[in-house]
Symmetry: C2
Subunit: 252 residues, 2 copies
């Protein structure tokens, strides 16, 4: 395994992924290198572009390096649901490694940089490195944990609680990968997009955004979010970040 494909700055590109994997009993340097070696050079995705089509059968999995992506499902009536937002360091479709067809599309919510891992190579690596396989498995399990958590949010929380929860989660996840600056972060979502995440109409998202502003908890101008009162916001959200699995895991 040469480091020929490493020429395109693999360190920085995979830094956030490795940061995440290290939390789960860290793969060895050899395993890291093997993974880095199969990743393709980065490429850029334009905002709004559909990276992966629902029902397609991708032959590689995509790692988000920078930007924001969403997993999007369109229903019969034309309404949409975003089932997950992906931040840098996330694999956006690692599950496609084991599933025949995508159950959703993946859309760039902003200009994004990505790199991909061919499934053929992933298979070779997971055959050879059981711990690396479990580390990748772990990533998909954290995804599922987040999905479950949002099931309770969509099933049982009102609009204000849902929005507060989304902002708390994004703050924590973006902070984890170093994308929170001065207590705020860039959120390239329209209020309509947020509605597609929260299961709300764009109009009602606007109403609850204004409630959060009026309560002095959040400012949201352009694409910039500032959390003004974390205590109050996380309390309103009933935010309890265990489900994000950001604490180090113990590999026995």
């Amino acid at each position: 395994m040469t480091s020929s494909t490493l020429s395109a700055a693999p360190g920085p590109m995979l830094q956030r992924l490795f940061h995440r994997l290290e939390r789960y009993g860290p793969p060895s340097a050899e395993e890291f290198a093997a993974l880095a070696a199969i990743m393709t050079p980065p490429r850029t995705i334009a905002p709004g572009q559909v990276l992966i089509q629902q029902f397609s059968a991708p032959q590689e999995s995509t790692l988000l390096v920078s930007g924001l992506m969403g997993r999007l499902v369109t229903l019969r009536g034309g309404s949409q649901q975003i089932t997950a937002l992906q931040v840098p360091g996330d694999f956006v479709d690692l599950h496609a490694f084991l599933l025949a067809r995508m159950d959703h599309s993946v859309v760039a919510m902003a200009e994004c940089t990505v790199t991909t891992a061919p499934h053929r190579e992933l298979r070779r690596l997971t055959d050879r490195y059981p711990r690396l396989a479990r580390a990748l498995w772990y990533l998909t399990i954290v995804d599922a944990s987040i999905h479950r958590h949002w099931l309770t949010v969509l099933g049982r929380r009102d609009a204000l609680g849902r929005l507060a929860h989304l902002l708390c989660e994004l703050h924590v996840r973006l902070d984890d990968v170093g994308l929170v600056e001065d207590g705020g972060f860039d959120l390239p979502l329209t209020q309509s997009d947020a509605g597609d995440v929260l299961g709300l109409s764009a109009v009602h998202v606007n109403r609850v955004v204004q409630q959060l502003r009026a309560r002095g908890m959040v400012s949201w101008n352009r694409r910039r979010i500032e959390i003004r009162d974390w205590r109050a916001l996380s309390d309103l959200a009933e935010f309890e970040p265990t489900y994000l699995q950001l604490e180090p895991q113990i590999e026995t």
Copy 2:
């Protein structure tokens, strides 16, 4: 590896699991045998019993052999959300193999039979059999696919659509493991339980049940569900079972 622990009728006990795993490029007979060898003898769980507590750190994963279980989260205000229903052949907490703590409880909705796999043994097996590891990984990925699908149902469908969808899904999943008889199946859920799955109040579940009855689509008496008009029900539900991943996968 002896077959000593196989004495407790491992074949029938694991039959539904193997049926499922075979869909994903089948593990070999040796892998099946190795998995069967680490499963504990079956035990019975009483209806309503909490098998696994939220925030606990189980040292083994549980396979549901018969009955029905739910993954339950309780919110601050006392309201509950069931994030998944598990049917026979499902691992109810395979993700606990890789996560430090449970993000939810697991509750028996009926009298259940279970068998467990110690995590230590699972680690040994997944070290040794990469294909088996991927097959188990695959199971957790199907779980996540179902979670995502329910995010769209809870986020975008009204009460009637949600209930219709739940009944369609249960019919298909139970049919897959041979638990549909004469076009109907046993559903040991109260209408209140169904509300916890659907993000609805028990009162409103009752109202939409009656709508389905009035339209001649479903009968629901005691614990027995009969689908009277599959075409109409699945159409109302916009049910499209791809997300259940019951079609054979292709392992390259």
